[in-house]
C-alpha cells in the first residue's frame, strides 16, 4: 500500500497534470475565500493561491521548475487574455476617445511616480543596488518589466516577483484608497490602477466595473510602453 502511494506521488509530482490541478484548486480556494468575505479586496485570491502553492512546494520539496512545467499552461493564457482586452476596449471606444488628453497626462505623472518613488523609498531604506534596478519597473506587466531589468543589470526573476507583489498590493489597496480620495470617475479609477498595478490591477478593476477595467487595460499597455522608454533614459541620466 505504501509503495503504491509512493508511486502515485512520484507520478503526481513529475506529471504536469498534478501541478496544473494544484494551481487551479489553490486559486479556486482563494476565490471562495474572497466570496465568503463578501468580496473584500484584502482577501486576495492570487495572494491566497500563491501562499498555498509555496507552502505545498516547500512541504513536498518540489523545485519551482518542476511546478512550472504544469503551471505553464495557465501562464501561457496571459498572452491570449491580453489580446482579449481589445474587446472591451472596442466596446468602450467612444469613452476612450473622449479621454485621450487626461489619459496621457495621468500616464506621464503615473509612470514617473511609479519608478521614482519605488527606487527612492527602497534606496532610502538601504536596498542593494541590484534590488534598486530590479524594483524600478515594478508597475509594468511581467514580460516587459523583466526585459527592462535585464537591460539595466537587474535580476529579471526578482523583478517578476516584485511585479506580482505590486499587482497584489494594487488590487488590495485600490478600492479603499480611491474611495478615501473621493474619486468617482470610473475612467480615472481604472486607468490609475492599470498604470500602478498592471494586469492584476486590471483584473481587479474588471471585477468592480467594466469601464474601469477597460481603462485599466489601456493604462497597463501605455505604462509598459512609457516605462520601457523612460527608465533606461532616466537611469543613464
Amino acid at each position: 500500500m505504501n509503495a503504491q502511494l509512493g508511486q502515485l506521488w512520484v507520478y503526481l509530482q513529475a506529471n504536469p497534470l498534478g501541478w496544473l490541478t494544484a494551481t487551479l484548486v489553490a486559486y479556486w480556494i482563494g476565490v471562495k475565500a474572497q466570496r465568503a468575505a463578501g468580496g473584500r479586496p484584502y482577501v486576495n485570491p492570487v495572494a491566497i493561491a500563491v501562499v498555498l502553492l509555496v507552502a505545498l512546494l516547500a512541504v513536498t520539496g518540489t523545485p519551482y521548475q518542476t511546478y512550472f512545467e504544469g503551471a505553464q499552461f495557465v501562464h501561457f493564457l496571459l498572452g491570449p487574455a491580453t489580446v482579449a482586452l481589445a474587446i472591451p476596449l472596442y466596446e468602450n471606444w467612444p469613452a476612450v476617445k473622449r479621454s485621450l488628453v487626461p489619459m496621457l497626462a495621468a500616464l506621464l505623472a503615473g509612470t514617473v511616480t511609479a519608478v521614482a518613488s519605488a527606487v527612492g523609498i527602497a534606496w532610502a531604506l538601504g536596498a542593494s543596488a541590484e534590488s534598486l534596478v530590479s524594483i524600478a519597473p515594478k508597475s509594468v506587466t511581467t514580460p516587459v518589466a523583466m526585459g527592462i531589468a535585464e537591460k539595466l543589470g537587474g535580476i529579471p526573476s526578482l523583478t517578476a516577483v516584485l511585479v506580482i507583489l505590486t499587482g497584489i498590493i494594487g488590487a488590495i489597496i485600490a478600492t479603499p484608497l480611491l474611495n478615501a480620495l473621493g474619486l468617482k470617475d470610473w475612467r480615472a479609477r481604472g486607468f490609475a490602477v492599470g498604470v500602478a498595478a498592471h494586469g492584476l490591477g486590471t483584473a481587479r478593476a474588471f471585477q468592480v466595473n467594466d469601464l474601469a477595467g477597460t481603462f485599466a487595460g489601456i493604462g497597463m499597455a501605455l505604462n509598459a510602453l512609457a516605462t520601457a522608454i523612460l527608465v533606461p533614459v532616466l537611469w543613464h541620466w
Binding site: V46, V83, W93, A109, T113, A122, L125, V161
Partner: protein, 122 residues
C-alpha cells in the same frame, strides 16, 4: 469557441512577430490587442463567440498570474534580507502612483470641461 481561440492566437502571433522583427519595446500580446481592436473596428461589431470567450478569459485574468507569483519561492532569501525596504517601497510607491495618476486624470479632465458621463459614476 474555436474561432475565437484562433482569432486571439493569430493576433498574438502577429503581435509577437512584429515586435521581434522591428524590435519595438512593447509586449507582443499588447500589440496583438491593438491589431484585434483594428479588426473589430473594420468589422464594426464583436462576433458573439469572441465576446463570450474574451469575457470568460478576462473574468479569470488574475488566475493567470498565479504561476509567476509562486516564483516568489526562488527569492525567499533576498526578500527576507531586504524585506522592509522592498515591501515599504512596493506599498508606498503603488499607493502614490494610484493617487497621483487618478488625481491628474480627474484634474486634467476638469480643466478640459469634464466629460465624465454622470451615469458612469459609482
Amino acid at each position: 469557441m474555436i474561432e475565437a481561440g484562433i482569432l486571439l492566437l493569430l493576433c498574438q502571433l502577429a503581435g509577437e512577430s512584429i515586435v521581434r522583427a522591428l524590435a519595438v519595446p512593447v509586449p507582443g500580446p499588447v500589440l496583438g490587442a491593438v491589431l484585434m481592436c483594428a479588426l473589430l473596428a473594420i468589422r464594426r461589431s464583436v462576433p458573439d463567440n469572441l465576446g463570450r470567450t474574451s469575457h470568460d478569459l478576462l473574468a479569470n485574468f488574475s488566475l493567470l498570474f498565479v504561476p509567476a507569483g509562486t516564483g516568489i519561492i526562488l527569492h525567499a532569501t533576498r526578500l527576507e534580507a531586504e524585506a522592509l525596504a522592498l515591501i515599504a517601497a512596493l506599498i508606498g510607491s503603488t499607493a502614490l502612483t494610484i493617487a497621483v495618476a487618478s488625481l491628474v486624470f480627474v484634474g486634467v479632465d476638469r480643466l478640459m470641461g469634464g466629460t465624465a458621463p454622470q451615469e458612469q459614476q459609482p
